[in-house]
């Protein structure tokens, strides 16, 4: 038996058997088969095989359709009550929400504190002596509600009972009086000290909430710890 020399047309024998060729192509393939022994034999084999292969296992289409209906009719109810959100997506959304809240809080505090350019002092707080005097090296941010006062109103207070809250930007530091206290020696800070203090305060990544709730106290504490790490 001579071998086929036209692989392209031989490749179309299954389409010829299945009747999926258009008229023109069918004529070409049939003409080739008529002159090719190998394709003639192969076409005969395919025509014999197809009925055997087509029998195959029988399945109950109605039963399958019923299962599909049962599954798909239940699905919209589930979707309506609980949208499909994967766990990683939920985590991402929670993280994004947390970040957004932090950013908004930061922006609000910055905007609120930026116009005054003041140092914040709270009565009753203690301050390390090196802060109260000339060796200020690190900020002591006060996360609690603060009392602000214009920098032009320095008030003297006992050195152990005042704290310096972070001013922002390059604003000059002034002492702010607490309701019943006064600053001591802050006016003695040199320009270098002021710049050092300002720079270190500017390095803070976020500003504590002006009115932190109890729920975020642990976080606030950790942030304080971090910010104090450089001291």
């Amino acid at each position: 038996m001579s071998e086929c020399t036209n692989g392209e047309l031989r490749d179309l024998l299954p389409e010829l058997v299945n009747g999926t060729l258009d008229a023109e192509m069918r004529e070409r393939v049939e003409a080739h088969v008529a002159s090719c022994e190998e394709c003639t034999a192969e076409l005969a084999l395919l025509r014999s095989l197809r009925p055997a292969l087509m029998r195959g296992p029988m399945v109950d289409a109605r039963k399958i359709a019923a299962a599909v209906h049962a599954q798909t009719s239940a699905q919209p109810r589930r979707d309506a009550t609980r949208p499909r959100i994967s766990t990683p997506l939920r985590i991402a959304i929670a993280a994004a929400a947390l970040f957004a809240v932090s950013a908004i809080g930061y922006a609000v505090v910055r905007r609120g504190g930026g116009s005054e350019k003041v140092a914040v002092v709270r009565a009753g707080d203690t301050i390390p002596r090196d802060v109260a005097h000339e060796t200020v090296t690190a900020p002591a941010p006060a996360p609690a509600p603060v009392v602000v006062a214009p920098r032009t109103s320095p008030v003297h207070a006992p050195p152990q009972q005042v704290a310096v809250a972070p001013p922002h930007g390059a604003a000059p530091i002034a002492a702010a009086a607490a309701s019943d206290g006064a600053l001591d020696n802050l006016s003695d800070l040199s320009d270098d000290d002021v710049r050092t203090l300002t720079a270190s305060l500017d390095g803070l990544s976020s500003v504590p909430d002006a009115d932190p709730s109890a729920e975020i106290d642990p976080l606030g504490a950790s942030l304080d710890d971090n910010s104090a790490g450089g001291t």
């Binding site: 299945n18 014999s48 197809r50 055997a52 087509m54 195959g56 399945v59 359709a65 599909v68």
Partner: protein, 184 residues
């Protein structure tokens, strides 16, 4: 009497899918009727014999459960075959993990093959079918898709997770093996 276009009389798969998405459940029934037997033959050709209907049912349930992900880049039937192939593969892996003994698997294959041969009408067809049974699962599935479904090599490659060229080679190797088996 109203005029109806052929597509309205016999809606194609895309039209049925659109109807189903629009809430027409009968469209799903029509799609199952149209493709279930084809999927069953393919599942059987992959060597899954005892639970063909279960696999086919799972195939359709999964297909309609994730129809939103069907973008129409292949035909709906090819997409169904792809899902069916994955299901069969998962089952076969599950059996391997369950440490089913090789002899038991062989025994199952013989019995299922015998059962299938019982559905083949003539002795000649039985001989032909027996020749097909000697093929590897990959060869058998590709050969079946080519001969019974008339799929192109490109569609076959999508369905079986192979390449177009590999599908062509598998088909011709299968054809040669069957002829040799019949000539014995």
């Amino acid at each position: 009497m109203t005029d109806q276009s052929p597509s309205e009389l016999v809606p194609d798969d895309a039209a049925l899918i659109a109807r189903w998405r629009g809430g027409e459940e009968r469209a799903a029934t029509a799609l199952v009727d149209r493709h279930a037997q084809h999927v069953a033959r393919f599942v059987a050709s992959l060597g899954e014999r005892d639970e063909v209907e279960e696999v086919v049912q799972d195939t359709f349930v999964r297909a309609f459960g994730s129809l939103d992900s069907f973008r129409g880049e292949s035909s709906f039937r090819t997409w169904l075959l792809t899902i069916a192939r994955n299901l069969v593969r998962d089952r076969q892996r599950g059996r391997k993990r369950a440490r089913v003994h090789v002899e038991v698997q062989d025994g199952d294959l013989v019995s299922s093959s015998d059962a299938l041969e019982g559905t083949v009408a003539t002795e000649t067809e039985q001989r032909l079918y027996a020749a097909v049974e000697t093929l590897s699962p990959m060869q058998r599935s590709i050969f079946t898709l080519r001969v019974t479904e008339g799929l192109s090599y490109k569609e076959i490659a999508l369905a079986v997770g192979s390449t177009e060229g590999a599908a062509r080679v598998h088909y011709h190797n299968a054809m040669r093996a069957i002829r040799e088996k019949i000539d014995e």
